[in-house]
Amino acid sequence: MNDRLLNRRLSRRTVLQGGASLAASAAVLSGLGKPASAQTGGKVIIGAFVDGGLAPFKNSIIPLAKSEGNFDVEFLEDEYGVTLEKWFADAQSGAGQYDIYLLDDPWVPQFGAADVLEDLGAGGIAGGDSDWIASMIDMGYWPPREGPRVKGFEGAEPKLIAVPFVGDLQTLTYRNDVHTNGAPKTWDELIEKGKEGVAAGKIKYPIVFRGVAGNPIVTSWYPVFLSFGGQFFDDKWNVTFNSDAGKAAADFFVGPMKQSAPEGVVEFDSDQEGAAILGGDAGAIIQYSGNALKADDPAQTKVAGKLDFGVVPKKEKAIAQMGIFIASVPKSAPNKSNAIAFLNWYTSPATQAKLAEAGSIPVKRSGFGVEKPGNRLIPVALQQLDAGCLPRPRTPDWAKVEELLGIELNKALQAGSGGGAALDAAAQQVTDYLKQAGYYQ
């Protein structure tokens, strides 16, 4: 499963070529008159979780949607920790409080299996458009087009139930006065150079990450796990994350990485890790774009100009986790046709180019081809796409798997040892859970 996805790499050349040709097409289209989608408009209620990665969308694209597309966008935000359950209840009860959910991509299978989202392909959104970044549009299909499928969906026709919205993925942010030769290539180099930075009084810790049980710690551990060569499940949903590679990654994470992080990292979540890197205390961090977008703003960081971006360090490979914002339309949406028209407008090459200029990572190849990307992170994100990045396993039970694994990893992180044993314990719990959920019948 992983190899197939890894082989779908983008080269800079193909992206730029695609971008240039699509930009030219967009220019021709705009010369002929307004794009078809721009002729529509109306009320659209968008639900999102609070995340800095959506700042360019909020600040630049929503006003544009009003002026260009005549869309009246109502943008409703909630804390990450409550959105999944809130939106699932909304969709399942048919309450119709939202037209679009901006989901975290691992939630797509959960909504897909419950059959509460519109088939966007049937609604007129072209999933086959070659401008989509393949690994991103793949995440919008349920059941997945590739890889193992859960019981009950083995023979089902994949439907496009969500479209990529902001193309987020993990990259390295590092202090350029500590890593003077550029981005550290390996984890060992990251820690070693970081320690020199601590000794020189430039920083307090070589690295910072999230240690809170559940999604935060698993997200922080994921790139380490992938770079050590770990794989979560095999093609029959047998747990494989406690392989030798996985255990080595876990031991490294709860050992050397913890020793190089702030003392209280066990309780760190996004806010604390963001404060550590933007406040100038940490030498490096693997993160999504939310805090990375603040790296050049003196109002938001004490070390503006000292933060650079790079591909995640490697052990065997340099693979990051891909975790995009992905838009879906619930079947209960009160303004369904407006929502689909909005998504068509938003994912058009012209709007994607504006999104990239505003500083967000686009979801279409053409977006990467803009002359002046609004953020230095965007070309680095492209390098990371080249180097490799993988989504989380496409199962409706990911939240539970992440919970079970996260608790065990968090316990090992507290202890500062026993990463391998934690994976064994988690593997047993995940297997038991999947067994009672019918995965192995």
Binding site: F88, G152, V266, E267, Q272, N410, G438
Partner: protein, 302 residues
């Protein structure tokens, strides 16, 4: 006369019918509301607890399987243990502190009214706000305790990242917020006690401890029991504070049944299993309340 009599009789019989129906008509709105918001959800929850759910939908009847599965689920058993420990410790401390404060504030002296008012302030603050404030106190990176510790030459205060300390931190939060409730109930109880037995005891030369042990405590017993039962039931349902402060972590050190049940129901969509969990939790609280009522009756008889 012959013509009017049947009319009067008919009128009387109509009035009698209305008299009979009136209480039921007046009760009907309350009964209807109770049925909608209490009886139906309870019945629906009971039905759900006997079903196996996938992807938020019931797939099949499983009888009592969900209930039986609870007792072999290490996460449930851990949450139960954490909840019982939390409730036991928090309610015990709150009772002792509440009683001490009530005894102190029972006396009349200058400024006592202001003191009584100040003491109940924590209780009226929204629990979520209290949890956010305590998070700002406990946080190891920029929390108040860390600042104080660093001023004193120490390192960051490690509260929320350590299982035992995080648990104690949660208990401290609960004690801070809910001791005022115990104080208020017990103060009201103390002020309602007759003064004669205490005066007689003082005339007989009894000291403060003797008066407290032989008079105050036995006479306050029923109020004390009610306060403990009410607080215990309430503490069993604690959710907001732990959700904001620790979300059940680190590990599972502060994961109360309410948080585990919430995650099971809404995050993992195991509706049937979560319903079985909450029904079991409800039965435990009911058993506790019944035991307390029985204890009170026994004391009344004595």
């Amino acid at each position: 006369m012959k013509q009017t009599a049947p009319v009067i009789s008919r009128g009387r019989s109509q009035g009698a019918g209305l008299d009979l129906a009136l209480p039921y008509l007046l009760l009907a709105p309350s009964v209807l509301i109770t049925f909608i918001v209490l009886v139906y959800p309870l019945w629906d929850g009971l039905k759900a607890s006997t079903k196996f759910y996938r992807y938020g939908k019931p797939l099949r009847e499983v009888g009592l399987d969900n209930y039986l599965r609870l007792w072999s689920d290490s996460q449930f058993l851990n949450s139960l243990l954490v909840t019982v420990s939390f409730v036991g410790l928090a309610v015990a401390i709150e009772t002792l502190l509440g009683l001490a404060l009530a005894l102190f504030c029972q006396r009349e002296f200058r400024g006592i009214r202001l003191l009584r008012t100040v003491l109940i302030v924590p209780m009226v603050i929204t629990p979520v706000v209290v949890a956010i404030v305590f998070r700002l106190i406990y946080a190891s990176d920029a929390g108040m305790l860390t600042t104080l510790s660093e001023l004193a030459g120490g390192g960051p205060a490690q509260i929320l990242g350590h299982p035992t300390r995080a648990f104690i931190g949660l208990v401290v939060l609960d004690v801070w917020e809910w001791t005022p409730l115990m104080f208020l109930i017990l103060l009201a109880g103390l002020q309602s006690l007759p003064s004669e037995p205490f005066e007689a005891a003082r005339v007989d030369g009894a000291g403060p401890w003797r008066i407290f042990r032989d008079h105050t405590l036995p006479m306050l017993g029923p109020v004390l029991a009610i306060a403990i039962v009410l607080r215990t039931i309430d503490a069993f349902g604690t959710f907001d504070q732990v959700f904001v402060l620790t979300r059940g972590g680190p590990g599972e050190a502060t994961r109360l049944l309410s948080v585990f049940g919430y995650d099971t129901a809404f995050k993992f969509q195991q509706t049937g299993y979560a319903a079985a969990l909450f029904v079991t939790m409800g039965l435990m609280i009911l058993a506790l309340a019944l035991a307390a009522v029985r204890l009170l009756r026994r004391e009344d008889v004595a």
